[in-house]
């Protein structure tokens, strides 16, 4: 007790040193991580996207499945923040007129018709977290006609609002990444752990297996397996099947990291000490080795996630992954596959922005975590 008082009586610098010396692994990692500004921003972006995924329906403006031919291919529409009475966010209503060349009805914004926006207002019905039925949304129009809507990012061919669809797509695209990484992690830790712990012939076999999987071109293989999924499967079944397919091939990198850490840690003094004291192998693994490589595994996971997200996006883009009515980033990008369509409706390419943003953020985050994983280094 007196020793503590004595040390706290000394200069503030040494107090900070003491705190640092006593800080746990997690705290040290966090301190190191905080220094990497880009990674910190990325963490924020990733967190934001996952929040969006959780509250997707709340953020969405109009029902992502609701089609309306009258508002097909509406270009992105700005929100006007002020009218003549001050702050009153509104959009222009749509007015139909007949194109005298093609005799088609064309719907264009009509500046004389203002429709005001309210926050936390009622919109279409949905279940919050899939449980609580509600119709509150972050913002919605007051008394819109069926055609009107807020088209922040424009609409697709069937008149569905791209912003709402993107918000809802976040849910599937991000969760499928997490689920696949989770599965890969189990496989990776299991096989990598066995490989690193036992060594010898088992290690050789697992290492050759990893080399083998890595030398097969994955996309044709995925396509083959994914195309064989029966058409009659529900969205949920396809979702799990795709998760499984992606993770079956994605585990190799994680296994490599885990094995490397196991090999390095096996020689550490504290592991030998624990062995000499007579701790069981399982206890050594869980109590002594696992805490020193969790941060490495977390870093590897955040570097593996973008690859998984790209995989899902690619498969769905090809039409072999998830199928409509499911909404994922890949499915949204499928609409943008054709140059002729893109020439008329370039805003469909905006679906690529969240993909690029999330992948970039995960890459920076993973980099920061990898640097922080070794706080003593």
């Amino acid at each position: 007790m007196s020793a503590t008082t004595a040390s706290s009586a000394s200069s503030g610098a040494s107090l900070a040193d003491d705190k640092l010396a006593q800080a746990g692994q997690l705290r040290l990692t966090w301190l190191r991580f905080k220094r990497h500004k880009l990674a910190l921003i990325s963490l924020f972006i990733v967190a934001l996207f996952y929040l969006l995924a959780i509250f997707a329906d709340f953020v969405a403006i109009s029902d992502p499945h609701h089609t309306d031919a009258r508002r097909s291919y509406m270009p992105p529409q700005g929100i006007h923040l002020f009218d003549e009475n001050g702050f009153a966010p509104h959009v222009y209503g749509l007015k139909g007129s007949r194109d005298m060349k093609t005799f088609k009805m064309v719907y264009v914004p009509d500046p004389s018709k203002k429709i005001y926006i309210a926050f936390f207002a009622p919109g279409y019905d949905y279940n919050l977290f899939g449980l609580i039925p509600t119709n509150r949304h972050l913002f919605a129009l007051i008394n819109p006609t069926p055609v009107d809507g807020i088209f922040l990012l424009g609409t697709d061919q069937l008149g569905r609002d791209l912003f709402s669809r993107l918000a809802v797509a976040t849910r599937i695209s991000l969760s499928i990444g997490l689920a696949s990484v989770g599965l890969s992690l189990i496989l990776g830790i299991l096989l990598g752990g066995i490989s690193g712990l036992y060594g010898g012939i088992i290690d050789t076999v697992i290492q050759r297996l990893i080399e083998l999987i890595r030398s097969i071109p994955t996309i044709p293989l995925w396509m083959g397996i994914a195309a064989a999924l029966p058409n009659t499967w529900s969205v949920l079944q396809v979702y799990f099947a795709i998760t499984l397919i992606i993770s079956l091939i994605g585990w190799t990198e994680l296994a490599r990291v885990v094995r490397g850490r196991f090999l390095a840690l096996r020689e550490e003094d504290f592991v030998i000490a624990a062995e000499l004291v007579g701790a069981g192998q399982f206890r050594i693994m869980l109590r002594h080795m696992l805490p020193s490589f969790t941060s490495h595994v977390i870093a590897a996971v955040s570097l593996a996630l973008p690859a998984m997200i790209i995989s899902e996006t690619s498969l769905s883009f090809l039409g072999l992954g998830l199928r409509p009515p499911a909404i994922s980033w890949g499915i949204l990008l499928q609409d943008a596959q054709n140059v002729q369509v893109l020439a008329g409706a370039p805003w469909l390419l905006l679906a690529a922005v969240p993909v690029v943003l999330v992948i970039l953020a995960f890459n920076f985050l993973g980099d920061g975590l990898r640097d922080a994983a070794d706080p003593y280094g």
Binding site: L221, M223, I225, P306, L342
Partner: protein
């Protein structure tokens, strides 16, 4: 060194076998067998075969025997060069695939070549001139390359080309040459169209390799032997190229070996977007139509050619990486 080649060869054979097993599984995945599909196909055109004929067909193809024997029979036919008949096109699979397989490999190899020739000098430049404008530029480009999936890049380039240059950037041949027999002029036409898909494909891999090369070389440049070499008055160019670069090449080289499968994989999806006459679009068509012999053959041939390509790139590595030759690892 022989050990090394031997090990690679054995692994290559095993990989090919594994790919063949996976292909066989893919072919058999859809419900019903080949004969069922054949009958359904005949029925759609109005003709039919009797149950006995179906039985005899099943017997002929060995479909009434255990799965393992079916696999062996199938593999035997493959080795003889009989890949079966495409149901969609009603022609032998090899005929349908034709040049497409080679074009896939040409595109992938072009991308591989680009990755090698770009990543190495840029990586060295970025490390030697750390924090210079060029370094930042390539780092930015690298991060973009990592974050933009290649099919997306193809899509964006196509759109930009169409919108601002008014030309369609897809394809591997001009309209004049698309159907023409092979000639020198056609090869030249191909070379003119190759850079764009190759760049699109190579970007992600190159970005990755630049980062690896830069990090490794930076580690090496800080080592005392570099200072010693400088102190001895060896010209800067020689100091860098002769020692640290060769030392930094090792992790770079071992990771570049895995790039070829990745490129082949990417070429499938990029071909679809850019409309390249490779096996990519054909594979997708075959899979959607459940033309499993065609799809399976494409997967198999792609896999095997990837293994061969990786083997070649491994051997090339041995040539630039002396440690591989000596330790055989």
């Amino acid at each position: 060194m022989l050990m090394y080649i031997g090990r690679r060869l054995v692994l290559a054979v095993f990989t090919c076998l594994a790919i063949s097993v996976l292909t066989f599984i893919i072919i058999r995945l859809p419900p019903g067998d080949f004969v069922d599909a054949y009958i359904a196909n005949l029925a759609s055109t109005g003709s039919s075969i009797t149950a006995e004929q179906a039985e005899s067909m099943r017997h002929e193809y060995g479909l009434d025997r255990p799965v393992v024997i079916q696999y062996a029979l199938w593999l035997g036919r493959i080795v003889e060069g009989d890949f079966g008949v495409s149901m969609m096109w009603r022609r032998p699979v090899t005929e349908v695939i034709g040049d497409r397989l080679w074009l896939t490999m040409v595109v992938s190899f072009a991308a591989l070549f680009l990755t090698w020739t770009l990543a190495l000098p840029i990586g060295i430049y970025s490390a030697v001139r750390q924090y210079s404008f060029g370094d930042y530029f390539f780092t930015m480009l690298g991060f973009l390359g990592l974050a933009v999936p290649n099919f997306l890049l193809a899509l964006i380039l196509m759109y930009l080309g169409f919108r601002y240059l008014g030309l369609s950037v897809g394809g591997l041949f001009s309209a004049d040459y698309a159907q023409a027999p092979w000639s020198l002029a056609k090869v030249w036409d191909l070379t003119k169209h190759l850079p764009l898909p190759a760049c699109v494909l190579a970007l992600a891999g190159t970005a990755h390799q630049i980062r690896i090369m830069r990090a490794n070389l930076l580690d090496e440049l800080r080592k005392p032997y570099v200072i010693t070499a400088r102190a001895k008055g060896i010209p800067e160019r020689r100091v860098i190229l002769k020692y640290p670069v060769r030392a930094a090449l090792n992790p770079f080289a071992s990771s570049i070996a895995y790039i070829f499968p990745y490129l082949v994989s990417g070429s499938i999806i990029v071909s679809l977007v850019l409309g390249l006459p490779t096996v990519g679009p054909l594979l997708l068509q075959a899979l959607v139509a459940q033309d499993m012999f065609l799809a399976g053959t494409i997967v198999l041939l792609l896999g095997v050619m990837t293994v061969v390509g990786t083997l070649i790139s491994d051997l090339l590595l041995m040539w630039i990486e002396p440690r591989l030759r000596i330790t055989g690892r």
